[in-house]
């Protein structure tokens, strides 16, 4: 619509209305009388153009498309059928209504005309009324068809436009999410080769989008994390898991390491896209560093506290080492004397020398045990005989309880299954709890001081270690586990907090309970099998 200006608007619409209200009819007939007759008949209501042959008609149609063609069958140069065929051949004229006029009587030609695509067929002679009725009917029909078509076309195009707009919008939205996401997003093919990476991911690992095209995710994964990662990917592809999370290390392009936490799943394929592996990647280097620092600090603190604890015990430890040393020196003197006697008593001298060897070994053994207790090594969990661990601690404490007039009762269930634990940590745990008990017994007067240690098998694949004293007891068995809560004026108050962290690290629990009579019972629960964890 040539809506050129506001001024010309009405005029243009008027012309349009006029044109619309006066459809154009092309009349084709070689008979001049007939041609004029029909033209006159139709020109009352329509714009009429009349031509004498098929070829001219075709040219006229191409010059200006009429709304309907009324054509004689028998024509020079190009007959009605030929004209019809030519019109129907042109896609843009396919729907142009064509009415054939013929003098030829009989159903055959009528059918032939219709089969060739004529919209109607009028046999001469026809009445004026019949002619104008047919013409109008076909014009209306064509008009309707056109409108419906236009409507349909408009609908289809609008739907498509809307769909396209929605698609575009959605794509833009996802692209924006992908590009501006704070977390890294990476897509790889099923072999692990990068298909797409967002800018956060590129910044994280230090490669550009182009460089990623040539990389495999394994290339940037730390060697020690690769096997674990491969197994998970295989399980994902085989469908044994829907998705997985992995904490692993990436080698950045600059050669530095970062820690990441990846949530990985399969992105389903479509006709335009094959199945891909999608990873949402979070940089957890800072968190890992904090965790590591925290862990180190805790270990440090535990060690310092433990060392302080053992410091309190140095008198006992010194005594432990000193006893065999004293025996060594005394035996040495005896040996010299037996040899210096006249005559020398060799058998007595040999006995003394043999005792020197044995006592020397004893002293060395004490030193080894003490050193093992002081040693700070990485936690190494292995199957351990709990009874042996407890007996080792008792050997180290040796006369300590007895010298404090504490009678010690040890009950070990025979054939306890091994626990999965770190030897040094368990020794520290048992010794800490026993020293606590001994301290609680220290001020006791007027009743025999008792300390019992028992290791028993509990239900649900657990082993119980109970350390029970009849000492002065705890005011608040729950608060006692809090760091820096202490009953000792010079204590740090970390002993029980550390005991609990040791037990927790072994998947067990530690609790304290006031006894019905005097004192406290500490119960350690340890699982027989290691916890299933990565």
């Amino acid at each position: 619509m040539p809506d050129t200006s506001p001024d010309g608007h009405d005029e243009a619409r008027l012309q349009n209305e006029t044109a619309k209200s006066r459809p154009r009819i092309l009349v084709v007939d070689d008979n001049a009388d007939m041609r004029q007759y029909v033209a006159r008949l139709l020109s009352e209501r329509y714009e009429v153009e009349a031509v004498a042959d098929g070829q001219t008609a075709l040219t006229a149609v191409h010059q200006q498309r009429p709304d309907l063609v009324l054509s004689d069958v028998m024509l020079p140069r190009l007959d009605g059928f030929g004209l019809l065929r030519a019109l129907r051949h042109d896609p843009s004229l396919k729907t142009l209504p064509v009415i054939l006029l013929s003098a030829r009587a009989g159903e055959e030609s009528r059918v032939e005309g219709l089969e060739r695509g004529a919209d109607d067929y009028l046999i001469k002679p026809f009445s004026a009324r019949e002619l104008s009725a047919r013409v109008q009917a076909h014009l209306d029909l064509a008009h309707l068809r056109q409108e419906s078509h236009a409507l349909k076309v408009r609908h289809i195009s609008e739907d498509r436009k809307r769909a396209e707009a929605r698609l575009r919008e959605s794509e833009e939205r996802w692209r924006a999410v992908f590009d501006n996401s704070a977390v890294g997003i990476a897509l790889t093919d099923l072999n692990g080769r990068f298909l797409a990476t967002n800018s956060a991911y590129q910044r994280m690992v230090g490669y550009s989008a182009d460089e990623f095209q040539a990389l495999h995710f394994i290339d940037i994964t730390h060697e020690d994390d690769r096997d674990r990662n491969r197994v998970l990917i295989t399980e994902l592809i085989e469908g044994t898991r829907d998705q997985f999370q992995i904490e692993k290390r990436y080698w950045r392009k600059d050669g530095t390491l970062i820690w990441v936490r990846n949530s990985v799943s399969l992105a389903p394929g479509s006709e335009n896209m094959p199945v891909a592996i999608m990873a949402i990647v979070e940089d957890i280097t800072a968190r890992k560093r904090t965790e590591e620092t925290l862990r180190r600090t805790q270990a440090e603190l535990a060690h310092v506290t433990w060392a302080a604890r053992l410091g309190e015990m140095t008198a006992s430890i010194a005594h432990e080492v000193n006893q065999p040393l004293a025996a060594v020196v005394t035996n040495g003197h005896a040996c010299v004397r037996w040899l210096s006697a006249s005559p020398p008593n060799l058998s007595k001298a040999v006995e003394a020398a043999e005792r020197i060897v044995k006592d020397g070994k004893d002293a060395g053994e004490v030193v080894r045990r003490v050193r093992a207790l002081f040693k700070r090594t990485a936690v190494e969990k292995a199957p351990l005989d709990l009874g042996a661990v407890i007996e080792e601690v008792l050997r180290l404490l040796d006369g300590y309880p007895a010298r404090r007039h504490v009678s010690l009762d040890l009950v070990l269930t025979p054939d306890l299954p091994p626990v999965f634990a770190d030897r040094v940590q368990l020794q520290q745990l048992v010794m800490n709890l026993m020293l606590n008990a001994l301290e609680a017994l220290e001020p006791v007067t007027g009743r025999p001081k008792r300390l019992s240690v028992r290791a028993t098998y509990a239900e649900a694949n657990q082993v119980l270690v109970q350390i029970c004293d009849n000492g002065i007891g705890l005011d608040d068995p729950v608060a006692a586990f809090q760091p820096f809560v202490t009953t000792k004026p010079e204590g740090l108050g970390l002993g029980l907090a550390i005991c609990r962290s040791i037990v927790a690290a072994h998947g067990g629990s530690l609790s304290a309970e006031r006894n019905t009579g005097f004192g406290t019972t500490f119960t350690v629960t340890l699982p027989l099998r290691p916890e299933v964890s990565q």
Partner: protein, 208 residues
Amino acid sequence: MTVDRQVVFVVDDDSRVREALSSLLASAGLEVAVFASATEFLNADKPDAPACLVLDLELPDINGLELQKELAEREAPPIVFITGHGDIPSSVKAMKAGAVEFLAKPFGDDELLRAIEASIALDRAERQKRSERASLDERYERLTPREREVLTFVVAGFANKVTAVELGTSEITIGVHRGQIMRKMGARSLAELVRLADKLGIVPRESV
């Protein structure tokens, strides 16, 4: 070394120390008896001979200092303390309570043997003193009440005449008493009788 019997008692809860000391003391020609605890020592039959007690300070049942206190009330041998701790307050306490020596483990054989010898010598003297005192007591027991009364005048230096007047008897009677006293007490002179009375703690009569 003297020919008469002498014994060293060793009390230590550590068998290694007991064995080593047994051997060392035996090599020095000493008779040794070892005990693992204070109770064991207290309950044991001990030979009647000059002795020494080598005592560990830290014992499981009764600690060394307590045992020392308990033994002080009896006629017990002198104590040589041995200890693995050797803290000053304990050693001071031990020495004040009459210990002969306080040795920190490990100790040299000479210092131990010297201490043991000194202890045994001390014990021998103590035993001597005790037996002298016992015989003195026994002699005093034989005096009649009248003789004991006369004794207080004799040791105070009163003449028989004065004593006779004071006791309302004759000078001759007092002379007989005096002779009996000298004989029963085994005193060869007045000076010796005075010394013996002094040992017995007899208070001489004040001037009348």
